[in-house]
Symmetry: C2
Subunit: 409 residues, 2 copies
């Protein structure tokens, strides 16, 4: 008998029919003798409906009141799922975030979990109840309702698993696991049986939308075994996100390929090569609340250098304006150029630590297809390149094949 | 400066546009220097939408979970109204029943308020906030959400007014006050400026659906001045429900005429006239959870009597079955007869206490129109008659005219 936390997303509980299906699935786990805590999101579409009502009422909805409002979405789901379980003859009981209590800070709309009171849940579990908890929400120290921000239900699941020392936190979603890359682009993409926490962090932040990055961080911090599974297919084992490399039985060098085309690149030309110049360029950008992703500065010659970075595509023109008006004249750079028709393609894998030549293999594969690399950045387990947006899908396919990701290791 | 509790029903907050209108109305009171606690219901239609979802999931929805679910309706309303007030530049803060805390017993779906913690609200009011509270809901001692049953938002308003010792509890609804009778039947019906608590109790329980009976009871118990006003018309003074007869300045003998055709009558014929017979007839009816309204037993002759009573029309055939199978053979009565095409018409007024001949005036007026009276029952301030359903509207019109209710006293 093990304690398992399961989390079902909005598309898994999108209708009362689907909620009954989820109840059936939970029933099977219960019948295996497991203790179950189930976290649910709002029915799909509900959060957007509530946000629209809020926007109709206030252009910029008050953050505290917005949380009072949108938290009702999950509250409806927990009641319905509990009813479905009770209808099937099980003992079930629902809890809102405030009822559990899931203590958070008071950063409405994007609160962070501080701690969880697990006594009531533990007592219910010991009394044979299936405990159903509203995802995405908590309560601050004054008793006000908070939400964790979109996708925060994953974090609720992981946090509950950590607090209750659950054997595993299972995230049920509309895909059956984490893939080597997006199967819509590479039909040969393969589901990974396991992926390490670090790889998942890189994959999540680079564009694989399977899990919210904060829930992965949380799982890493509290050493929670996380498993991604399909809520529509029966019997799959999904993908286990391990925090021990030893558990990663596949041991491929590269685990997956992530990509996105949300970014734009900006290059400041003829920057005087002197200390403090990076701060003089990026300081005004940060002051304007623009998030900078990749940053590249090459070795200078002639006393000048080129300085490049990427920002979110939505911030491109605003950032160009800042540079033209506040930075270029001030630091005496020659010009600023940029473009938003770029894509970032990354290969991710803990195997990189032990193997050499991964980067050159990647660059050769792209070169053979005539794909020009505009920027490169690396971390210990990731190599990212910026290419022309029109080559993004080709690059992903080529790399998937080059690193044999379609083959089971 | 006075502390006023205002309650707005579902039709007053049916859309974000209407919520903005309510916010404007509240703003005017605030600008007069009043402290305001505002109670709101769910947006009209929302509670029914939630109930339908629950019914889809469980034939007989679990009472605890049903309350978790339907309480979200008011939670959305309080957030939206607070947003609308904040958008207008006011300080506003919302509270669910659990957040206030409105302590109730644990009778889910029909809980009763035990006490209200008013400290947080008082502090907010003193800090210049408009406090917006979810109607219809509370929390039991284990922290589970409860609801007060349909229409319970009125009760929340009255209970808050009592706890905060408010000057007045204003119930905004879709009518502009309490009328001498339903204006759809008697166009000359007149709005009452005041009505006593006792009269309102009789009018509410007899079919005037302006206020929920439990909120009136509560107002009487805690001596809360209650005022019914229209949420759609500006500037009206509505109807004040007073608990002091002296405040009832109009001093009419009869205040209003109530009526309904929800009942059915049942007569047990040839009942042996001996002690305990009433219990032998009504005991099995009560055991079947059938609510009995009027009960009439005439003086017997020949050792037998006829025993009549009324029940809700929906319970008519079930009650007849109980009597035929369990009562008649057992007590040795002759037969049981009944019918459901009846109506109850009542005249209500505290003036009855001081005037004689009111009943005979009523009976003469009905007789002059050829309306046969089938049953009569009275209380200190009410006389009710059962007539054939087809004469109901005529009876109401005749009595309204006979007692000069179209004239200002």
């Amino acid at each position: 008998m093990a304690l398992i936390v399961q989390k079902y997303g909005g598309t898994s509980v999108g209708s009362t029919e689907q909620i009954k299906n989820v109840a059936c699935r939970i029933a099977k786990f219960q019948s295996l003798g497991h203790q179950l805590v189930v976290v649910v999101s709002a029915m799909s579409g509900e959060t957007n409906r509530l946000l629209a009502l809020a926007k109709e009422t206030q252009d910029n909805p008050n953050p505290r009141e917005l949380d009072v409002m949108v938290s009702t979405g999950e509250q409806v789901s927990i009641a319905l799922l509990s009813m479905a379980l009770i209808e099937m003859g099980f003992k079930a009981r629902s809890y809102t975030g405030a009822q559990v209590r899931i203590h958070t800070d008071n950063a409405y709309n994007k609160a962070r979990i501080i701690k969880i009171d697990e006594d009531k849940l533990r007592a219910d579990l010991d009394a044979g109840y299936i405990v159903v908890v509203a995802g995405f929400q908590g309560v601050d120290e004054t008793g006000s309702i908070t939400t964790l921000g979109r996708g925060g239900s994953d974090t609720t699941g992981v946090a509950l698993a950590a607090a209750l020392k659950a054997k595993e936190c299972q995230i049920y979603t509309d895909v059956d696991g984490v893939y080597t890359t997006d199967p819509r682009i590479v039909p040969e993409a393969r589901r990974l049986k396991t992926v390490t926490f670090e790889e998942m962090m890189e994959l999540a932040s680079l564009g694989s939308k399977v899990l919210q990055i904060r829930s992965v961080e949380f799982a890493g911090k509290y050493k929670v075994r996380l498993r991604v599974l399909s809520s529509f297919e029966e019997g799959g084992e999904g993908t286990l996100i391990t925090f021990e490399e030893d558990e990663n039985m596949e041991q491929a060098i590269i685990s997956g390929i992530a990509f996105n085309h949300d970014e734009a690149k900006i290059t400041v030309l003829g920057v005087p090569d002197r200390p403090g110049i990076a701060y003089q360029i990026l300081g005004p950008v940060a002051d304007a609340n623009v998030d900078v992703d990749m940053i590249i500065q090459n070795v200078g010659y002639d006393g000048t250098t080129d300085f490049s970075f990427t920002v979110h595509r939505n911030e491109f023109s605003r950032t160009m304006d800042i540079l033209k008006s506040k930075v270029i004249p001030h630091i005496g750079a020659r010009d600023v150029v940029g473009g938003d028709s770029i894509a970032k393609v990354s290969i991710v894998g803990v195997g990189m630590r032990s193997y050499v030549g991964i980067a050159s293999k990647m660059f050769r594969a792209l070169a053979e297809e005539g794909i020009n690399i505009q920027m490169i950045s690396t971390s210990e387990i990731r190599i990212s390149v910026i290419v022309d947006e029109k080559y993004m899908e080709l690059a992903v396919r080529v790399l998937h094949k080059s690193f044999d990701l379609d083959q089971t290791p």
